[in-house]
Symmetry: C2
Subunit: 224 residues, 2 copies
DNA sequence: TATTACATGTCGACC
DNA sequence: GGTCGACGTGTAATA
């Protein structure tokens, strides 16, 4: 990883056209070739960047200033003109073992697929990721009466999720073999607005405690 | 801006739980207090981060290793344990003049406002950013028959945009002076799923070539 | 403060 | 390679 602290101007042309006036910034070049230009604030997002793969060409401007031109095969181009280099260092970092995550939506969905009864006593899973032509439904089940139940699972239940469930159900209702279709909106927590909207649409809301669900011993999990 | 190259382990607890095993990484602390941990690859996104405002506490572990605990008021906590510090430098960058952008959705909307006939021959602009109580509609027009036409403009047309248009039209239909309202979904490109949904809702889809639109000479632009 | 829509979103999964 | 949905999305504008 190469870290350059320098007064520089930057021009980007590609998905949009953007320009950075002369100022002191950090220019970061990673081992995979990606380039990022950071100001001293504004969270983790750089002011400008180029993702790998790309080609970095070092040259000198008319007046002798170093200039980097970074381009990729998709018509994007980043030009960095260095007015004054304050620091330039390189470091060998090696490959990173990577981030170990826990608690995302996928696991919540998997746990619920194994235990649909947590959502409703009489639910039996038909399949996960049931496909429709506007996208897959998280869980499709049948209840004790044989009615179809479409379930949207979110980590955080917000209005978007209710809209998504609405769209899916509208598509499913077109299939005589599935009609009628009930909707259930499941999340660790559901915002008041999402609850109101779900109520308007006739969907049941279920808030799930992820820790409790995860804590169930394997023998409690009904495999499918 | 402080830049630390170090072998470290990192734990994050907050919106999820995540852990980084010991490896050499860059730890960046910006003037506004935000912290980012970068590996030597993977575009501009750090492996872990904390956005400002937050509190950084430097301490020493049981075995003498420096440890940073970064926490904010929303129950998020990032713990960085330094096993070996290879480099530690600070730089004064000053405030950044900021990025000057061009070519985003706003310009597409402005160009179409000047040339609604590109969307439909007989369209006449009523106004841009026509207000409703759930937000402004990009373009409101009338067609040759005097019917209202609501137009949602996106750079990329996806399902969310169709939902947005649907909500706006539902509001407009409440106004007897506007009813009936037709919907048109305009974007540089529209995904197949968005086209299906727009079709279901009875909206017309129009894909626009931004470069062609921009290339029209000023005298071709009908000002409003 | 809370909600909404945008982003050079990025990223992964799947087709 | 394209499409689609999740993301610790972040971010700005707006009410």
């Amino acid at each position: 990883m190469r870290l350059v602290i320098a007064r520089c101007t930057v021009d980007y042309e590609g998905r949009l056209t953007a320009r950075l006036p002369s100022a002191v910034r950090l220019v970061m070049v990673k081992a995979d070739g990606c380039v990022a230009i950071h100001a001293d604030g504004g969270a983790y997002k750089p002011l400008n960047w180029m993702v790998a793969p790309n080609i970095l060409v070092e040259a000198r401007d008319d007046d002798g200033s170093p200039t980097w031109t970074v381009s990729n095969g998709k018509g994007e181009r980043l030009v960095i003109r260095f007015d004054e280099v304050l620091s330039d260092s390189s470091h060998e970092l090696g490959t990173d073992p990577g981030l170990e995550k826990d608690g995302v939506e996928a696991e919540l969905q998997a746990l619920l697929a194994a235990r649909p009864d947590v959502i409703g006593d009489d639910l039996v899973l038909v399949r996960r990721e049931y496909p429709t032509d506007i996208g897959p439904i998280d869980l499709l089940c049948r209840d004790g009466s044989g009615a179809t139940v479409a379930i949207e699972v979110k980590r955080r239940g917000e209005i978007d999720g209710v809209e998504q469930l609405t769209r899916y159900i509208a598509r499913l209702e077109l299939d005589p073999g599935l009609r009628p279709v009930r909707g259930v909106f499941v999340a660790q927590s559901i915002t008041p607005q999402a609850k109101v909207l779900a109520g308007d649409r006739g969907f049941r809301c279920v808030e799930i405690d992820y820790e409790v669900l995860k804590g169930m011993r394997p023998e409690d999990l009904r495999l499918f």
